[in-house]
Every structure is written in structure tokens, then in C-alpha cells.
């Protein structure tokens, strides 16, 4: 089996059999011609495999899906319109009204919005727990719990969960652990190797890496046993006949791929949040250079961290590679190649000084994204996490003065010069 760098370039792709094109073509088509009536009927009924309609699958997307599945060490993947679409697809495939999720408090603001504000309207509730508190994960389990959910690195304070221990608690409760691995990518961690069952990415970020498209990827490890005694009753969508598809029992149809089978056959069919083939192609281009980019992202981040630690106007820095970070030991265990190129820090100043800092940056772009080739900056309390209460902000490790950086691929010296200039300008603002 090939190594990660090789898989990043090749997995899922071969020279095009029709034309010999070496790069994966963009199959810009809505639909695919059937060989005959029997072939058409067999494709619709899953008697044979193949492409029917690009909302369900497309050959360009299939290359991307195979590639991320290979990189994660999974069995299969589905490409969707965004990371949020991937999260939604996973949840609605696993559960319905009356179900319950146990989730880390330290989540991307969009994920928090979905769980805390939107899903309760559809009868799905969430208990948020401190990510490092194993007793809290355990105590939050209810008879109707269907999923444990967290991030490999909790946004934006870089709070970790002990994946092996939390997955063990989830499995004892008969439910899977799903992790958002957007910030870490399979270059930094492969969560399935530590016990996670499902992983999703906002491919918009480091996987694509250039800030040009929106996309999500949902990957299945194929390890969770939906028919196990503790789980069978909990996951009727996978273990019981589905009248919407000729009474198919997905977990009998495929021992490993039941979850993604239903995601595609129901979720993409009915909710339709598919990814365009051109978008899939852009993400494939990004993934080809993922290992070399991530190596540079991490190297630059370490130089920036060294500078910020030495600056008198900088308070706490929330990066788990720093010994003072709460999860330093966990980071050493789970992230031997480096923890993250996205982190936050607190200015020792007022809100006005925080604004002055951001407004005086020249290379860092002030915008709502991370994981770009360009370095980025944002103020979470007024943007990505603005809908969270003060208490929830504190619980997630965010203050009014927290600044989030996403370190890009520029020369580290230029980035440090830019930060130094902006810090000096901020210090000049009267308190």
C-alpha cells in the first residue's frame, strides 16, 4: 500500500482511458448514457455500479472521493457542497427527530450554530461538553444518543480531545465518533488510526489550499458495526428496511459501506447538496501538493510562534505545540508532524487596539477563512463566533481580544515583519 505523499498525487486517478489525458478531466456533464434499458434499471436499483446523474456521482468527483478516502485510510468518501453540508449529511443519515448528540464545546462557529440553534427545530438536540473532560462525555450519554462529535483541533483555541479515549466511550455507548479534521488534514493526523469512525473536512481550507472554492468531504472508516447488538436499534436508517429503496437494509447490502451508501442514495438524492465537478477538480489540484504545503505551513507557524512569544504586547498564545498550552502532551502524541497552522492569541490591550492591529496588517488578509496559501487574520468574537453567548465564548476559550491567524506560505520573515509593524501600531493607540 502506498505512502501518503504518493497517494496525494495519484490515488483515485489514472490516465483517462478514452483520451490518454494525464490530468483528471473535468466531466462537465449532468448525466451519463445508459447502455440499454436493463443497464438503466440495474443502475437505479444498485444491481450494478456506475454514474447516473451528477447530483449522485460524477467521475471527477469520484477521483477526489477515492483520494481523500485513501489519504484518511478509509473505505469511501462523498464530496458535497461544503463542510457544513458534510456535517449535515452525516447527522441526518444517522438520526432523526428525538435523537441526541454529544459534542465538544470547542467547535467551529458554523457547526455550533447547526447543533445549538438549527437542529433543535428538527428535534435533534446536543449536549456540549468540555473536550478534555472524559467524565463529561460519559455522563452526557442518553438512551437516544446517536453520535459523538468533535474537532481534531477545537476551533479557535486549539483544544484537543483525547481521540482514543473519547472513541472508546462512544463505542461503549454503541455510537460512532465523528471528527472534523479540517484544520489538520490527513497530513497531520489520520483520525481513523486512533479510533474515530467518521471524518469530515471543509475541503475549502488546507485540502484545496488556495481559497478558491467551497467544498466538503465526508469519509467513512468502514469500521463501525451498525448491526452490533448495542447499535442495531439505534441506527434503524442502516439496520432496518428502507422503504424509499425497495426495503434495502443498507448494513446488509454492504458490511463496510452502509453509512455512505445511505448518504449517497438518500442524502444526496433528497437533499441534493452535491459538489460541482469543476470544484472537485480544483480540490484535486490542491491535494496534489498537500504534503509540501502543510510542511511549509507548519514551519512558518513555528517561526511566527517564536516571534509572538517574545513580544511584550502579546498575551496568551493558544497553540498546542507550546509547553504552556493545556493540551501540549496530547498534541505531542497525536500530532508528531506539527499541530496546526491556525491558532489564536490574545492582545494585551483594548478592543480598539485589537482593531488597530488588524487594520495595520498588510500581508495578512482580514477575512473569514483559514487554510489558504495566503496568511489570514480574523477577530472571532465579532465574526465567526459572534452568535455565541459570552459564557459559550469563554467556554470555547475566546475573549474579546482574541485574534485568529492562519499562517500561509509566504516567507516567514515577511510575515513576522508584518505582525511586528501591526503590533507597534496597535500599541500606539491610546488605551
Amino acid at each position: 500500500m502506498f505512502e501518503l505523499d504518493t497517494l496525494s498525487v495519484h490515488a483515485g486517478a489514472r490516465p483517462d482511458p478514452a483520451t490518454g489525458a494525464r490530468a483528471t478531466p473535468i466531466y462537465q456533464t449532468t448525466s451519463f448514457v445508459f447502455e440499454d434499458s436493463d443497464h438503466a434499471a440495474a443502475l437505479f436499483n444498485m444491481e450494478r455500479a456506475g454514474h447516473v446523474y451528477s447530483r449522485l456521482s460524477n467521475p471527477t468527483n469520484a477521483v477526489l472521493e477515492e483520494r481523500i478516502a485513501a489519504l484518511e485510510g478509509g473505505i469511501s468518501a462523498i464530496s458535497v457542497a461544503s463542510g457544513q453540508a458534510a456535517l449535515h449529511l452525516a447527522i441526518v443519515t444517522l438520526m432523526g427527530a428525538g435523537s441526541h448528540i454529544v459534542a465538544s464545546r470547542a467547535l467551529y462557529g458554523g457547526s455550533h450554530n447547526l447543533l445549538d440553534y438549527t437542529l433543535p427545530r428538527f428535534g435533534i438536540t446536543t449536549t456540549f461538553v468540555e473536550p478534555s473532560d472524559l467524565d463529561a462525555w460519559r455522563a452526557a450519554v442518553r438512551p437516544n444518543t446517536r453520535l459523538f462529535f468533535g474537532e481534531t483541533l477545537g476551533n479557535p483555541g486549539n483544544l484537543l480531545i483525547d481521540i482514543e479515549k473519547v472513541s472508546d466511550i462512544a463505542h461503549k455507548a454503541g455510537v460512532p465518533l465523528m471528527l472534523d479534521s479540517t484544520l489538520t488534514t490527513p497530513y497531520l493526523i489520520r483520525p481513523f488510526e486512533h479510533g474515530a469512525d467518521i471524518v469530515f473536512h471543509s475541503a475549502t481550507k488546507f485540502l484545496q489550499g488556495h481559497g478558491v472554492v467551497i467544498g466538503g468531504l465526508l469519509v467513512d472508516s468502514g469500521r463501525f458495526d451498525w448491526l452490533a447488538e448495542k447499535s442495531r436499534e439505534k441506527f434503524a436508517t442502516l439496520s432496518a428496511p428502507y422503504h424509499g429503496f425497495h426495503d434495502m437494509v443498507f448494513a446488509e447490502e454492504s458490511s463496510t459501506a452502509a453509512f455512505l451508501l445511505r448518504c449517497r442514495r438518500e442524502g444526496l438524492r433528497d437533499f441534493g447538496a452535491c459538489m460541482a465537478a469543476a470544484t472537485a477538480w480544483q480540490i484535486l489540484q490542491g491535494i496534489e501538493t498537500l504534503p509540501v504545503r502543510m510542511e511549509r505551513h507548519i514551519a512558518n507557524t513555528r517561526k511566527v510562534l517564536e516571534f509572538l512569544r517574545s513580544h511584550a504586547f502579546v498575551g496568551a498564545i493558544h497553540h498546542p505545540e507550546l509547553p504552556e498550552h493545556r493540551d501540549y502532551d496530547l498534541a505531542k502524541k497525536y500530532f508528531p508532524k506539527g499541530a496546526s497552522a491556525v491558532f489564536s492569541f490574545d492582545l494585551k490591550g483594548t478592543r480598539a487596539q485589537g482593531r488597530a492591529f488588524i487594520d495595520n496588517l498588510r500581508l495578512f488578509s482580514h477575512l473569514a477563512n483559514v487554510g489558504d496559501a495566503r496568511s489570514l487574520v480574523i477577530h472571532p468574537a465579532s465574526t465567526t463566533h459572534s452568535r455565541m453567548s459570552t459564557e459559550a465564548l469563554v467556554a470555547a476559550g475566546i475573549t474579546e481580544g482574541t485574534i485568529r491567524l492562519s499562517i500561509g506560505l509566504e516567507d516567514a520573515k515577511d510575515l513576522i515583519d508584518d505582525l511586528a509593524r501591526a503590533l507597534k501600531a496597535a500599541e500606539r493607540v491610546k488605551q
Partner: protein, 265 residues
């Protein structure tokens, strides 16, 4: 379909179709440390095209309870007991790898149960290297990875399966083996290696037979099937270009078409 065989729960995938005594029956038997799902892109088609399908989980595999059968002869006896419990006779029996040896032995010993025999990815005898057997005993993850490396043609090692959207076939094969209880792989490989009566069994087969090979199969190379092809009285063969041992997933349509033609010949 769930039945009781030898006092244990036994399962066979039927394509979500009710058993119809008026229809012919196709029986699919999986290989070592696998289950019924390896036949997904062949068995469902049969089930929705006028056949009863029994894609069996052998004991201790998938959804069938143990104990494991420790020899090919015991596996054949178990399948015979399953077919008797299901009240099936004169079936078209299709086996892959270890399942092909099981099907061969079943056909030789219980000709009343089998009207046609298809061997997919077969070798008789089925040599199993000591390195693989040792790994299966002491380091299953290493053994599973060795099997994945040898079970797909070179092109399939990098994916682009063209057929099952988004599925990383090497990863799926690995995940299926990981679901088995500890010791299943070693038990199965040891049973394959110990089966020495295959050519005698082949010579006793009276019904039409079919041998389907993968051109790039490194687990059961096509040349390792020449003996059984010679021993079978009525046999046709086909080699799938650029396919390895796992041709049911690497080349699902070609595999289906070949089996369909044989079943209807």
C-alpha cells in the same frame, strides 16, 4: 435470510427478495476473512433478474455465528447443511478463493445440491506462503495488508475503480478483513493450504463448471488453476484482463457478465 445451521445462527444475503421455490437458485460463497458483501455487484443483479440468491456468510464470518470450520471439507458440509435448511437443490454454486474450494468440495460430495459450479479466483491446490500464515497468526494487520497488496492488479492499487463512485477498494478490502474476529484469517488460510483433495474432487464433478481468472491475480495466479481446469470434465474458462484476485470489485461488470452467461448457458 437467517437460518439455524448446526444449532447456530446463519445468514445469507438474498438481495432483499423473498425466496421463490419456482425460481433457480444461485449460491455465492466468499473467500478467507470476507463475507457476503464481496458479491454485492453480482448477487443483487441475479436476485432482481429471476433468481433466488443466497450469498452466504460462512460460520464465524459476517453475520453467521461460529464456530469456525477448520477445513474445506467442514466448510462444504456446513454449506450443504445450509442449503438443506433452505430447502435448496440443484443450485448454481459460485465460490471465490477459499469459497471456490468449498464449492468444489461441495459439488464433488453432494452432486444433488449443485447443478453448475463456478470457481472465481481459484487455485487447486491453493498454496499459502509461510510468511503470510505466520503473519496471520501473530500480526493480523500485517497479514491483511499483504493480502491487499496481492489482491489487486497494479492499476487498482492506486484506485480509479471507474465503477463504484468514491470507493477506495484497497481500503474497503482492508476494512472488511479488520471486521473479522481475531484468528479468522489464519483459520481460513490454514484450511486452504491443508486442502489436498481438490484435484480428486474436480475429477468427480459431473456438472458443467466454469473457471474465472484475473490476469494479474497474485494470490491465485491463473497458472495455478490449470490443474483443476484439466481435471474438470465439462469446463469453460475466462480470464479478465488487468484484474487481480478481487475481480468481483475490480471488474464487477465483467465478472457479472461472465457468471450470468455461464448460469444461463
Amino acid at each position: 435470510m437467517k437460518l439455524t445451521v448446526n444449532n447456530n445462527a446463519a445468514y445469507a444475503y438474498t438481495g432483499t427478495r423473498a425466496f421463490n421455490p419456482a425460481q433457480r437458485t444461485a449460491v455465492f460463497i466468499h473467500g478467507a476473512a470476507n463475507d457476503h458483501s464481496v458479491w454485492g455487484l453480482q448477487s443483487r443483479y441475479f436476485a432482481w433478474h429471476g433468481w433466488n440468491v443466497l450469498a452466504i456468510d460462512l460460520p464465524g464470518h459476517g453475520q453467521s455465528d461460529g464456530p469456525l470450520c477448520t477445513s474445506i471439507e467442514a466448510l462444504a458440509d456446513w454449506v450443504a447443511a445450509f442449503l438443506e435448511a433452505a430447502q435448496v437443490k440443484a443450485a448454481t454454486v459460485i465460490g471465490h478463493s477459499m469459497g471456490s474450494l468449498t464449492a468444489l468440495e461441495l459439488t464433488a460430495c453432494r452432486p444433488d445440491l449443485v447443478s453448475k459450479l463456478a470457481l472465481v479466483g481459484s487455485a487447486v491446490p491453493m498454496a499459502v506462503g509461510d510468511v503470510l500464515l505466520e503473519a496471520a497468526l501473530n500480526d493480523e494487520e500485517k497479514a491483511w495488508r499483504m493480502i491487499v497488496d496481492w489482491s489487486f492488479a497494479p492499476n487498482s492499487q492506486l484506485g480509479n475503480n471507474h465503477k463504484v463512485p468514491g470507493t477506495w477498494l484497497p481500503g474497503n478490502s482492508l476494512a472488511l478483513m479488520r471486521r473479522m474476529a481475531k484468528g479468522v484469517l489464519h483459520n481460513d488460510l490454514a484450511a486452504c493450504k491443508a486442502y489436498v483433495n481438490g484435484l480428486i474432487a474436480a475429477a468427480n464433478v459431473q456438472c458443467p463448471a466454469f473457471v474465472l481468472m484475473g490476469e494479474r491475480d497474485m494470490m491465485t495466479a491463473p497458472k495455478a488453476a490449470l490443474g483443476v481446469i484439466a481435471a474438470l470434465k465439462s469446463v469453460r474458462t475466462q480470464t479478465i484482463p488487468d484484474a487481480g484476485h478481487n475481480m468481483t470489485s475490480e471488474a464487477p461488470d465483467v465478472t457479472l457478465a461472465a457468471l450470468w452467461r455461464f448460469a444461463h448457458a
